[in-house]
């Protein structure tokens, strides 16, 4: 009956066949700064002829700096050792470095490169990590993010999240694109193009699929799409509106919001669209479900108490329990990978900000000072929150560290970015 696809053609592009965007990629801008914990000397790696730009050490340094947990030691005018034996630790200690990263890129036949790097403890004068990669030019940035992950984990004890990806919706005029990019906003690839709105993208736990809401059928319908081949299917297209997909940790089920029984209510459904079961009841508005990492609970937004607040209900059903109490508008819950923290959007004096809420203590902290923040999601390592805000009249994406002290902007000029989600 709804033949709108004919009138509003939607191109569904396979990830692999999608051409790399010619647009300038997003920029990193560190707005605030925490008292940096680790001082790292990112020594420029010895370069090979024909290697891609920018240099590996630069990409790694940007990653580390963006986390807010590192300070980069000035390496200009310094010697560039390529093996640990050549490192003069005294010089680096004199510059305040806690750790030194050195490396070397060598050109191989067939346009390939060999990358070697060493992470050295400048105080103990020991080697913390050493790796060798054989890569193509296309794997250049991915290799830099892997090196950054190793440096981050060795020095902080927490896994890095630099090799993860983000999804967001870009609006240009009346064109909507669902895009998947690296965690630093670079290397964006369009996976859905539509003349109708797309909202609420969510990565499956293994990162191989993305669920989202598309309006291409003249109403909100939940789709699940493979990021490998671009194939997709409608998971929820019931009478009324279908929205707010959230993956269960096992990747087999989703929570969705349907209005088939009139009010917006939360349902569970298998990823293939079978096995529908209603979770919440009553004539109130329930939406924005998100699973706890153990899959036992679902946090969601509801107006059942007279204002928009966050509640928790067992994934097996039962009576919801209220989680937020202050203010009159707390929405868009996201839960940290360790299950300890909730991030959400809170309205205070007409300003919408990202709030971090420690579940055990109930203590809250406002992380942002912008006025129109939306859609928070945690990094896979739980150390930062990705969100959307409005700057200069257009939508931009940003990250903020859990202490609120380090904020970055992932921005691309001339486009409106919104609805971000951080994935594996």
């Amino acid at each position: 009956m709804l033949r709108v696809v004919l009138f509003f053609p939607l191109l569904c592009l396979a990830l692999l066949s999608a051409p790399f965007s010619a647009h300038a990629a997003m920029e990193i801008q560190v707005i605030g700064g925490a008292a940096s914990k680790f001082a790292v000397a990112m020594v420029p790696f010895q370069a090979a002829p024909g290697q891609p730009e920018p240099a590996l050490a630069r990409i790694v340094g940007d990653d580390l700096e963006r986390s807010g947990q590192f300070r980069l030691v000035d390496t200009s005018g310094m010697q560039q050792p390529v093996s640990p034996a050549q490192v003069n630790y005294g010089v680096w200690r004199g510059k305040g470095a806690d750790a030194v990263v050195i490396g070397q890129v060598t050109a191989l036949p067939g346009g390939r490169f060999e990358v070697r790097f060493y992470l050295l403890d400048a105080i103990k004068q020991t080697q913390l990590a050493a790796f060798r990669y054989t890569i193509t030019a296309a794997q250049w940035r991915a290799t830099a993010h892997q090196i950054a992950d190793i440096v981050y984990e060795k020095l902080t004890g927490i896994p890095g999240a630099f090799s993860s990806r983000i999804a967001y919706v870009q609006k240009q005029g009346q064109r909507f694109e669902l895009r998947v990019a690296d965690a630093d906003g670079q290397n964006p690839r369009t996976v859905v193009r539509s003349s109708e709105p797309v909202i609420s993208p969510r990565f499956s736990p293994d990162g191989a699929r993305v669920a989202y809401v598309s309006f291409e059928d003249k109403k909100p319908v939940v789709y699940v799409q493979s990021l490998r081949d671009g194939g997709r299917s409608k998971v929820a297209a019931f009478k009324g509106s279908n929205s707010a997909p959230a993956w269960a940790p096992d990747g087999r089920r989703l929570a969705v919001v349907l209005t088939r029984d009139q009010a917006s209510q939360i349902y569970l459904i298998n990823a293939d669209g079978s096995g529908l079961a209603r979770l919440t009841r009553g004539g109130n508005l329930d939406t924005e479900p998100v699973f706890s990492p153990d899959g036992q609970f679902i946090y969601f937004t509801s107006d059942r108490g007279g204002s928009a607040q966050i509640y928790r209900v067992a994934a097996s059903g039962g009576e919801p329990r209220r989680v937020t109490f202050s203010g009159s508008y707390n929405v868009s819950p996201a839960i940290s990978p360790d299950g300890r923290n909730l991030a959400y959007i809170s309205r205070e004096d007409g300003r919408f900000s990202v709030v971090l809420h420690e579940l055990a203590s109930g203590q809250t902290r406002v992380l942002t000072d912008s006025a129109r923040d939306e859609s928070p999601s945690f990094a896979p390592n739980g150390q930062a929150v990705l969100y959307a805000t409005v700057q200069g009249g257009r939508g931009v994406l940003g990250t903020v560290s859990l202490d609120g002290k380090t904020r970055t902007r992932l921005s691309e000029s001339g486009v409106d970015a919104r609805e971000p989600a951080w994935g594996p």
Binding site: P220, E288, V331
Partner: protein, 186 residues
């Protein structure tokens, strides 16, 4: 000029260019205000000033012939129900309009409506989608009370995604807090 009324204007223009006997035969007058023959002059209101009467007369093309839902003089041509801030109450001023749609829907076995709820841009997109749904449901319930069966209606929401007015002003927000009545065959 808003999006809903553009097609209405277009239909008006087309019908003014010449109606065939066929289309006249399909016209059904449910409101008493629409008829293809002997239509009174409409679209012109005359008001006396100091006893000096101004007589209005129909302009060429003003004779409405066509789909009664698109007759600007009919309450059926009214398609939007606006809501107050944070409210889902259908105000009484919309009763004549909704009664006209209810009686049209009951008279046409195949007629079906989609009630499209909308919200202003402030706050979460998913929450606003649910708020728009509440506004669509409010209109659906009002039509159900007037006798329209559930199978003829679908309440959906566009949330803040399809604003009629894209400005970030109170006036634009008021314009965007609404439910549109859209027929499935339109």
């Amino acid at each position: 000029m808003n999006k809903i009324f553009l097609p209405v204007l277009l239909a008006l223009t087309l019908s003014a260019c010449g109606t065939t006997p066929d289309t006249q035969a399909t016209v059904e007058d449910r409101t008493g205000a629409t008829t293809t023959t002997a239509a009174p002059a409409r679209g012109v209101e005359s008001t006396g000033v100091d006893g000096a009467g101004v007589a209005g007369s129909a302009l060429p093309g003003d004779q409405y012939a066509g789909d009664p839902r698109k007759d600007p003089a009919s309450p059926l041509s009214k398609r939007s129900v606006f809501f107050d801030f944070d409210s889902y109450v259908v105000k009484s001023e919309y009763r004549p309009m909704l009664e006209a749609h209810a009686s049209y829907l009951q008279s046409k076995p195949d007629a079906r409506v989609i009630l499209q709820g909308n919200a202003d841009e402030r706050g979460s997109r998913e929450y606003n989608l649910a708020l728009g749904q509440k506004r669509a449901e409010a209109v659906r319930r009002a039509l159900a009370v007037l006798g329209v069966s559930d199978s003829k209606m679908e309440a959906i929401s566009f949330g803040e995604e399809k604003p009629r007015n894209e400005a970030s002003t109170e006036a634009a927000y008021a314009e965007n807090r609404r439910t549109d009545v859209v027929y499935a065959d339109e």
